[in-house]
């Protein structure tokens, strides 16, 4: 199975306890500690905790915890990953790689959701929620019907459509055997024509950071909201949507609801567990006026050391002005 079957001297030596040298460093890992960290799940199901979840429960959990990035139907929001669709596109110009169209093992989806999701609130899901979410992802990919239940007993048997779509790296045979030897040094081709230019596409970012190019100071906050600025701010708010909701029906996610945030005292959203840092600053009278919001959103961790908000900050003054205008516009 493996291409590295040769057993080296090192391997042989290490396999012999008599030769192994032990420095007596570290301490024995306790079973509780191993259980807390050893959560990876293998394709044969090793590592799965007992539990189960059905499609309909999954739909609810997904809507609550995943849909802000991945869409209600796992179709993906903006540049966030699409989890469904793409069937039969792998040989196309622009393949759509989803759990249904590309992933070889269902264990991978369970393992990733369990250990790494939701984004910004990882390792917060109960095993049954993970089973339900994965069941819903299968349903979104038309791989199961709405009565489907996924459990630790059925997961390893579930075969994904692209399970056989992978080969072990064969570059040594298909490429290295050809691309060796003394290369051509003179008169290697007749003509050299430009066939593609990056300047035509022009998707290269502009250079920033040189001192003479520092952004202009923020414009004075105007009393009346500029509709264009609010609209621009709504676009900037896409960066916040992974964790924050605003407006009608907004709920707390990994970040609190932001409706009416501008001008409000900090730490007032019900049901949200704030960081110690924010609570302390709120107790000291922090109000989210335009200036404080601006400073916080420009450099969250500088403005509030210890904040739970993992966002690195908005670098452009235009964006800061726009987001403030947008937040102000959604007052209730």
């Amino acid at each position: 199975m493996l291409k590295f079957l040769k057993v080296t001297t090192t391997l042989a030596l290490l396999g012999t306890p008599a030769v192994a040298e032990n420095l007596g460093l570290g301490r024995v890992a306790l079973p509780e500690e191993i259980a807390a960290w050893d959560k990876d799940v293998s394709p044969d199901g090793t590592g799965l905790p007992p539990g189960s979840g059905d499609v309909l429960t999954g739909e609810e959990v997904f809507a609550d915890k995943c849909a802000s990035c991945h869409g209600d139907f796992a179709e993906g929001v903006d540049n966030w990953p699409k989890l469904a669709g793409g069937w039969d596109t792998l040989a196309d110009d622009d393949p759509l790689k989803t759990v249904g169209s590309y992933w070889p093992h269902l264990s991978t989806a369970w393992d990733y959701v369990n250990r790494s999701m939701p984004f910004g609130d990882a390792q917060s899901l109960e095993p049954d929620e993970v089973y339900a979410i994965v069941a819903y992802i299968l349903y979104s990919n038309d791989l199961v019907d709405d009565e489907f239940v996924l459990s630790d007993e059925t997961l390893a048997e579930f075969e994904l459509p692209n399970a056989d779509g992978f080969i072990v790296d064969d570059r040594l045979e298909t490429e290295h055997s050809k691309w060796v030897g003394e290369p051509c040094m003179t008169d290697c081709k007749d003509a050299v024509e430009v066939t593609m230019r990056a300047m035509v596409l022009d998707v290269t970012p502009q250079e920033e950071g040189a001192p003479e190019e520092a952004q202009a100071a923020p414009a004075e906050q105007e009393a009346a909201l500029d509709p264009a600025l609010v609209e621009a701010g709504e676009k900037v708010f896409k960066k916040c949507k992974a964790c924050h909701q605003i407006g009608d029906g907004a709920k707390n996610r990994s970040g609190p609801v932001l409706t009416g945030i501008v001008g409000s005292p900090a730490g007032r959203v019900e049901g949200f567990k704030y960081s110690k840092a924010l609570t302390e600053m709120a107790e000291n009278g922090l109000v989210w006026d335009a200036d404080n919001l601006h400073a916080f959103l420009a450099k969250p961790k500088t403005f509030m050391k210890g904040t739970k908000m993992s966002f690195s900050g908005l670098k452009k003054e235009d964006d800061l002005a726009a987001i403030t205008a947008y937040l102000k516009s959604v007052a209730n």
């Binding site: 080296t8 960290w37 790296d169 008169d187």
Partner: protein, 428 residues
Amino acid sequence: MSKKTEEMMSKGPSRRSFLRGAAAGTAFVAGAAKAGTPDPLITEVQPWASGLGDGVDATPYGLPIEYEADVIRRNVEWLTADTISSINFTPIHALDGTITPQGCAFERHHSGAIDLRKEDYRLMINGLVDRPLVFTYADLERFPRENHVYFCECAANTGMEWAGAQLNGAQFTHGMIHNMEYTGVPLRTILQEAGLAAAGDLSDKWVFVEGADASSNGRSIPMEKALDDVLVAFKANGEALRKEHGYPVRLVVPGWEGNMWVKWIRRIEVMDGPVESREETSKYTDTLADGTSRKWTWEMDAKSVVTSPSPQAPITHGKGPLVITGLAWSGRGAITRVDVSTDGGKNWQTARLAKPGEKMALTRFYLDIDWGGEEMFLQSRAMDETGYVQPTKAQLREVRGLNSIYHNNCIQTWWVRPSGEAENVEVS
């Protein structure tokens, strides 16, 4: 061309850095041209030659002088949904030598760069070992340690260029790479401390390595590599790792794709087989033209790029002596030779290596020419100790198609104009 494109082009980085550079170049040329006129920078006493500079404690930890403020990592915003799970690029066009300063070495995070104190750091070894162990940072410092220089290249470096010339600058096309001197403990030593007798026959065993951040990025590494040259590293270029590179401890997997160099490494599990984690199935697998995908494409093949002149580093001095320079590397051993072409691959000259190539480390090459001011199509072509010759993009596409994303090690072309401006192009 649309109005917008036109507008963007006139403001594009290449154009702008060229103009900035050209202005400086004009000043130099003017100084040289008026050889008969005394240079006031020499004849007049300058403030710095008369007054006093900063005291020793002005910058307890120094940063580059303000005049180098544009030598920074840069992000390509449209590549990813946000900056937390994203990547930026090393300004290789502005660096020389081979060691990448930590402060401008590219970053790749899956859940952001975390704050993890040495005091809070733990490393667990478990699975098929005789004694599952937990080490503190202080424990790691008591193992015999080694120093090695290795490059770390993201498998997606140059990945945006599969379908055509796209990003205009060596930083963006080839900047997902850095090269540092690491200090650390061989993984072999640490596994030995836990004891591998329980694993039995090691030839089909793996280790699963996992980070402490929320993405808990995990990869499976075959035991042979784990026992060969993998390092558990805590220093880079002589000082502590930077937060963005995994402070306080990261894994160094020489020659293999950067995703396996797990940052904030917290757990190493000896296993019977690969976990087939998200990072080794849905990502970091290379889809071929027929829709099948290669997995376990760990090694980074031999590759090179001219870093200057290049779109962000145009020629500003006019014709005459010109230093063409670049970087070459191979994940399968040492670079043995680099050839440079100025005519798009018709004819090649062997470049001078700054020093003999080192295994799995960057090699700097130079070609010193007398430029006549003519148009050039600059290319470089690396060879490594296995005899492998860096392929053209056409050769790669023939085998792999356009959808591999990862492992694009093709020969790069810069079209240098008589004005000295350079552009990323593809040539026949």
